[in-house]
Amino acid sequence: MRKRRLLIYWLILLITVSFTIPTDAFALKAGFDGISDYSHWWYPNCSYGDRAGAQYVNNLYNAIKSSFSLGFKYTDYDANESHLRTDSIVNSVQFYAFSGHGKSWTYENGAHFYARSTGECWHDSSMENYDSVNARTNEVRLGHSPGYCLWATFYSCHWLRNDGNTTKQQNIFKMFEGATLQMGFASVMYLDSREGTAYGNNLVGGDKIIDAFLKAARIYQKQRKDGDSITRVVGYTAAKDDTIRSYCPALPSSKWYKNAPSLYSVIVTEVIPHNGIPIP
């Protein structure tokens, strides 16, 4: 009898403790690289100028933190291109976002960092095309273990542009090795850190992931005198209706782009045009 009572006490204690121990509250993890400082008070500056990349990822994280655990958030001098090539970083989270400068070359595009992946926290104008400061579409692979990145957002110029070149487009598709969606731009775009808040609010508010990104861009991408902003989502076509609460899991290798190219597409392209013409 006494043993039974003791057992019941232990059970009650166990249940109580299991409810009070802080746990990893959310199944989904988010990770970020955002660069605002492309300059340093002591070291030479990148010639491209500062942007609001760190503010963007901070705003995005603040907007989604009710639904995601933070895997990592590297900003400014702590962010570097190796994060996008290292499975234990970019693929440790399900939702990844980069914000900063973007570059475009003939067959690939790049996310541009200020710190070098060789360890220095800066680069100068002679190093703009160095591998150590650019994560290229040719070398990023998304969807591997340990965390199987599902969705990646590049709030930067050019990441998803193909210039009408099928090789360049294939180099974008080849990044999909388990991941399902990538959101980004196929043109010059304009960095407004408030777009991160709008995107995050849309995600948490129940929008499809694609819609969340497009709707935020419709508010914050600007009409100018010259040049349209082109918003684009690329990926596993069957994931087009995914939300952060209902989604395709990471894909097995039989469904990676290199093994099943017909499953992938440019899902949507939306143009935010520059200035219009007078109504007749």
Partner: protein, 317 residues
């Protein structure tokens, strides 16, 4: 006593130094947030001015945002016009009212901006749609706005075919009609627009009203073109110039207005900007660009929206 005197002297010294620094111009000045592009900026460009500068204004009227102070009743009334019913919720953090009626969603900002989406059809790439011509799309969009009491007379218009797929698989899924505001013949850049998404046989899939109601503010003196041009040369402009440009020619300079979407800590209003248009030749190819500079005298560009300390930090760099 001596210690107290020393302390007071030290304090007075610090106050003096801070005062001198402020006098020397480290105070946050007036700034306007015009977001810069995410593509690289060339390190050094030799600019040539070939634009006619005759007839450019020396002063301009600014416009204040009229306090919309949207209420729940306003949201319900708008929803009724859109054929929607449901409960309105309000998120004080974002200042947004939301009403969801099945797949139809309406969001209304306290500032008066709003957007409506019919998710049953908007960006639904599974549907086979018969998309109307540009002229028909504009007509359908104008009819929809007219029913809502939105007058787009005098706005500029642009129709964009939005697509799915690429290369040979590309097809149109809807047409977006952009109505962009013009004030007294001067275009308003930034976000001063209404977007109407037109789908199958002219069905309205989405309406986004992102401009604010305004009223005339005050007349401000404009900085000279020379001063503004210097800011372009020093990369203190929001420019879309080609990253590899070495030389560039400015072919046109105009005054425009800039509208910010908010939210901001302070209402920004509609501000004048100098718009430099030009081109550069890179690898034998001509690339056009624009560069925006705040036009109000003493107003500088800032790279993040509004926080009070940012201008100081920018000054220090």
């Amino acid at each position: 006593m001596k210690k107290a005197v020393k302390g007071c002297s030290l304090l007075a010294g610090i106050v003096c130094i801070v005062g001198v620094l402020l006098y020397l111009g480290l105070r946050p000045g007036k700034t306007l947030f015009i977001p810069p592009s995410g593509q690289p900026m060339p390190r050094h460009v030799e600019y040539k001015m070939e634009a006619s500068l005759a007839g450019l204004p020396a002063r301009a009227l600014t416009y204040e945002i009229r306090d919309a102070n949207v209420t729940k009743q306003d949201v319900v009334a708008l929803a009724e016009k859109l054929g929607m019913k449901g409960d309105v919720t309000y998120d004080p953090k974002s200042g947004i009212y939301t009403l969801k009626d099945g797949e139809k969603w309406l969001e209304v900002w306290k500032s008066g901006m709003w957007d409506y989406y019919d998710h049953r059809v908007w960006k639904n790439i599974d549907l086979q749609k018969k998309i109307p011509s540009d002229e028909e799309a504009v007509q359908k969009a104008r009819e929809a706005l007219h029913r809502l009491g939105i007058n787009t007379e005098g706005f500029n218009v642009r129709v964009v075919a939005q697509t799915t797929g690429a290369f040979e698989t590309e097809r149109v899924v809807n047409k977006d009609v952009f109505f962009m505001r013009v004030i007294n013949g001067i275009p308003v850049y930034g976000v001063s627009r209404v977007i109407v998404s037109v789908g199958h046989r002219g069905e309205i899939e989405a309406i986004c009203k992102y401009y604010h109601e305004i009223e005339p503010g005050r007349t401000v003196k404009l900085k000279s073109i020379e001063e503004a041009f210097q800011e372009v040369k020093e990369n203190r402009a929001s420019s879309s110039i080609h990253p590899d440009a070495k030389t560039a020619v400015i072919t046109k300079v105009t005054m425009g207005y800039w509208e910010d979407p908010g939210p901001s800590e302070k209402p920004v209003g509609i501000q004048p900007v100098w718009v430099f248009e030009g081109f550069s030749i890179v690898d034998g190819e001509k690339h056009t660009f624009d560069a925006f500079v705040p036009a109000g005298e003493g107003v500088r560009i800032t790279d993040v929206p509004n926080p009070e300390l940012v201008p100081i930090l920018v000054e220090f760099r």
